[in-house]
């Protein structure tokens, strides 16, 4: 097999290596700008910066310890109104790239001239944990990431199995940093565009190099595979636990009972893109008689109403595009495990319709496409018992 990819030597740390690579690419005019997380001057948050000046690139963090803004949302904001005329490299986590791909299919982003660069993601810390002490948080993140320990990360990151290229193949270039043992990373093309970029960067090497790269690639993908298997097992277990905790009307309402209707989960969701959210529209703002009638039928009505409808309805709108990033849970001020619940709903719903959100631009959106022969278990079979009964009665 042909060794596809190159070695990115990281003598001065992985971040430095990625930054130097990006600077070189800017110098060679392979990209005109880079969209990448950068620590804010206050040193308590990270924000995506669209960088034109290479000097600012020095401050970038390709893998920040937290995700205050989902990168898919940043890419959507950049390209919603049309495709890019200049070439931009977006350095994002795999879940952010998957969200960008979903947004593109939903016609809310354009990936023309945008090069998606992803990295093996160790997860991110919950925002609230990080904010208690940003410096200590960053150190804790670095240590856990180096050891492949996901226990301090967000619950959805702890059960993520789409953290690398194999399970999230939509990126143009992927940087494999999963402990390679020798302080180097591999940079792997995920598309023809990625291969062209590696060629332009003169990162295709001679015979001797090829063997070394092939070795490293093999070691890296074996390691990724190992972690994916372990994560899948953990995911199955966690989803079973979440389901046991929320299944049934009573437990479900208990789960969402502390919801304050702030709709933060919807606002930060990368794939919740509607300009006017149905659940904030006048469709659900009704005359008082309506509420009185509902209170009469139920005995009482909680205000603001439609809390459960918001969560279930939102799931029906975005579960098929949900990338299980966990941004919703990070944004919840009431610590409702909304990301874990949605990750369960999304996995099951996408399974039912044979779809994986953000896997590729080619898979059609599941509610747009259909097959003539499918899902027959949804159709209620017609048993003519009732007919016979009535014939006898007559």
């Amino acid at each position: 097999m042909n060794a596809k990819g190159a070695v990115l030597s990281a003598d001065e740390g992985m971040d430095r290596a990625v930054i130097e690579w990006l600077k070189e690419a800017l110098k060679r005019e392979i990209f005109d700008a880079v969209l990448i997380p950068v620590e804010t001057p206050a040193e308590d948050a990270f924000a995506y910066l669209l960088i034109q000046n290479p000097a600012i690139l020095d401050r970038a963090s390709p893998l920040p310890p937290v995700m205050p803004v989902q990168g898919g949302k940043a890419i959507g904001r950049l390209t919603m109104r049309g495709h890019l005329n200049d070439r931009v490299a977006a350095v994002v986590r795999p879940c952010e790239a998957r969200a960008a791909i979903e947004l593109t299919k939903l016609k809310q982003a354009h990936l023309t001239n945008l090069v998606l660069i992803t990295l093996d993601c160790p997860g991110v810390l919950p925002l609230s944990d990080y904010l208690e002490d940003p410096a200590a948080g960053a150190a804790r993140f670095a240590e856990a990431a180096a050891q492949g320990d996901r226990s301090p990360m967000r619950p959805t990151c702890q059960i993520c199995h789409r953290f690398s290229l194999a399970q999230a193949p939509g990126a143009d270039l992927h940087i494999g940093i999963l402990r390679n043992g020798d302080g180097a990373a591999v940079i792997v093309p995920g598309s023809a565009e990625g291969e062209r970029i590696l060629e332009k960067m003169e990162m295709t090497e001679g015979d001797e190099g090829t063997r070394l790269v092939a070795q490293m690639l093999e070691r890296w993908s074996a390691q990724v595979e190992e972690v994916v298997d372990a994560q899948l097992e953990r995911r199955r277990q966690a989803h079973a636990e979440v389901q046991a905790a929320v299944a049934g009307a009573d437990r479900l309402l208990d789960t969402f009972s502390s919801c304050i209707n702030c709709h933060n989960c919807q606002r930060v969701c990368p794939v919740c893109y509607c300009r006017q959210c149905y659940f904030e529209s006048t469709a659900l703002k009704l005359p008082p008689d309506n509420y009185l009638a509902r209170a009469a039928s139920k005995g009482a009505l909680r205000f603001a109403p439609d809390t459960l409808l918001f969560h279930l309805g939102r799931a029906s709108h975005m579960a098929l595009s949900c990338v299980s990033c966990g941004a919703c849970e990070d944004a919840c001020p009431m610590d409702i495990p909304v990301g874990q619940v949605f990750s369960l709903l999304a996995d099951r719903a996408q399974d039912a319709l044979g779809y994986v959100a953000g896997r590729s631009l080619e898979d059609p959106l599941p509610l747009v496409a259909y097959e003539m022969e499918e899902l027959h278990d949804v159709e209620q079979p017609y048993i003519e018992i009732y007919h016979e009964q009535e014939v006898q009665d007559a």
Binding site: Q243, V246, A247, G248, A249, D250, R251, L252, L253, S257, Y278, R294, A295, S297, K298, G299, A300, L301, R302, P305, D306, T307, L308, L309, L312, G313, A315, S316, H317, A319, L320, L344, L345, R348, A349, D351, A352, L353, P366, L367, Y370, E371, M372, E374, L375, V378, E379, Q380, Y382, I383, E384, I385, Y386, H387, E390
Partner: protein, 143 residues
Amino acid sequence: MSEKQEFVPRIIYFMCSWCGSGGAETAAAHHLHYPENVIPSRVNCTGALPAVHILRTLIEGADGVVISGCHPGDCHYEDGNFRARRRIALVKSLLDSLGLEPERVWFRYVAHGEGRRFVDTAAAFNDHIKSLGPNPLKTRSDT
């Protein structure tokens, strides 16, 4: 007066305006009866019935929802019933994951001429919901 009150479910029957409600018309022409607690609600096409309406119906007090559209290949809009089938699969998956009884939602094709099938569906679903019992969400005030 009966000493024990029988459970009378509230059932919403969403039908498309071409085949589903056509089936209801045929049933009427033949003087076929269906349970009075089944409340018909016409939508233009089952493919145009949002998942949210099904969920909202279940949260706001219905014990069951039954949806009828044209047979495959007969849709007035070519493919509305195929889209509906996908959307109902989604709703059923969500309800199933959350332990909210996906069997409270039925999807069955009824053609314009199938008045018998329409009343049978209403009667069979009514009996099915009676055996399931009341929807636990309908008495919860904190939804």
